[in-house]
């Protein structure tokens, strides 16, 4: 039973190491391939954490520039996507800090006085524009009702399928906090999809 698991984990480890080596030498072909390969996942993550398509596009490009510049810091011991999401998330946080906020968590914590406004000033429903089908409209409407810190963990766990310890690395928070956010987020999503008030 452990055979296939071991095989795939070795394969993933080799892949991560090969990415790390390529990033060390700033291999342009590798970067092209990574941009292609991760474009959907990174963009989706950024849309969910920023709540704005145009901003997500900007952060998408900035994230890859950072990957190029700081690629030598990726050691290949963790999943590349976890490192990538951490870079993207911290760029968003830095941007929010520059707007006199403390952190993504503070901005989006439902217990704070002024939670993050996900909608853009000029576009009251940005997510609506990029999610097409009816079902997806339901999902995005529901997701908009959920505070960003919960939305973010849901996306990382159930869309990106990161492990809880990897999420703790991406978010720089303890495992217990990741779990509690996941439980609350799941409950909030379930409630929101039922049309009820979340949290």
């Amino acid at each position: 039973m452990a055979g296939p698991t071991l095989f795939f984990s070795t394969l993933m480890g080799d892949e991560a190491k090969s990415i790390a080596r390529g990033l060390q030498r700033r291999d342009p072909d590798l970067l092209d391939r990574l941009i292609e390969q991760y474009q959907y996942r990174l963009f989706r993550y950024l849309v969910y954490i920023t709540g704005n398509k145009e901003r997500a596009e900007d952060f998408f490009q900035e994230t890859w520039i950072r990957v190029l510049e700081r690629g030598h810091q990726y050691n290949g011991k963790s999943k590349f996507e976890a490192w990538l999401f951490a870079i993207a998330r911290n760029l968003v946080i830095d941007w929010q800090r520059s707007r006199k906020a403390q952190s993504l968590d503070t901005l989006t914590d439902p217990e704070q006085e002024h939670p993050l406004q996900l909608a853009d000033e000029n576009d009251p429903s940005p997510l609506r524009q990029i999610l097409s089908h009816e079902t997806e409209e339901t999902v995005q409407t529901s997701l908009q009702r959920i505070p960003a810190i919960y939305r973010e963990v849901l996306v990382l766990r159930f869309q990106e399928e990161l492990q809880i310890d990897e999420m703790a690395g991406v978010l720089s928070i303890p495992l217990s906090t990741v779990k509690s956010r996941l439980y609350r987020g799941l409950e909030a999503l379930r409630g929101a999809l039922q049309g009820g008030a979340s949290l």
Binding site: Q61, V67, E69, A86, V139, L193
Partner: protein, 162 residues
């Protein structure tokens, strides 16, 4: 059926999806769900919510990847052009240090001789020698620190995630 039993079932339903549960808990939950319509409905809603989340699609704007690849290549080129300058700076620092160390005894003798000739106190020419020897090195260190602080502006938070 007591409230606690439902609470446990609801918690296990969530836990099973978030981090997984033990075999004994799976068995207990299964038997509970066979007789509790409320918890069955809760589990169904939770699964429905997760299915919706997993299948939600976001469309990547046309050309975003190619625009990004173009920007990344430009930036890579800029960085490559900077590399020789940085190497030259390191080389200059290294050579300067080697020369400084190698010439220190001679320069010391020179300062000593000048001090005796001009009659300045020993402390003054010793300080003069110290400055002559350390200022270029301090200058090089300052340049390198400035360079690396610019480079490492965001390194901390990136390291946190890696």
């Amino acid at each position: 059926m007591s409230e606690n039993i439902h609470q446990r079932a609801l918690h296990l339903i969530a836990q099973a999806r978030v981090e997984g549960i033990a075999q004994a808990d799976i068995a207990w939950l299964r038997s509970h769900l066979e007789e509790c319509e409320f918890c069955v409905e809760h589990a169904r809603q939770t699964d429905h919510a997760l299915r919706m989340l997993r299948t939600a699609t976001i469309f990547v704007p046309d050309g975003l990847a190619s625009r990004t690849q173009f920007r990344v290549r430009l930036r890579a080129q800029e960085l490559r052009e900077r590399e020789p300058k940085r190497r030259a700076l390191w080389l200059a620092c290294g050579l300067s240090w080697i020369f400084g160390v190698a010439s220190a005894p001679y320069v010391w003798s020179l300062f000593q001789w000048l001090g005796q000739r001009t009659g300045v106190p020993k402390l003054v020419w010793e300080v003069g020698f110290g400055l002559w020897w350390s200022i270029p090195a301090l200058f090089a260190v300052a340049v390198l620190l400035m360079e690396s602080s610019r480079k490492g502006e965001q390194a901390d938070w990136i390291n946190q995630g890696s």
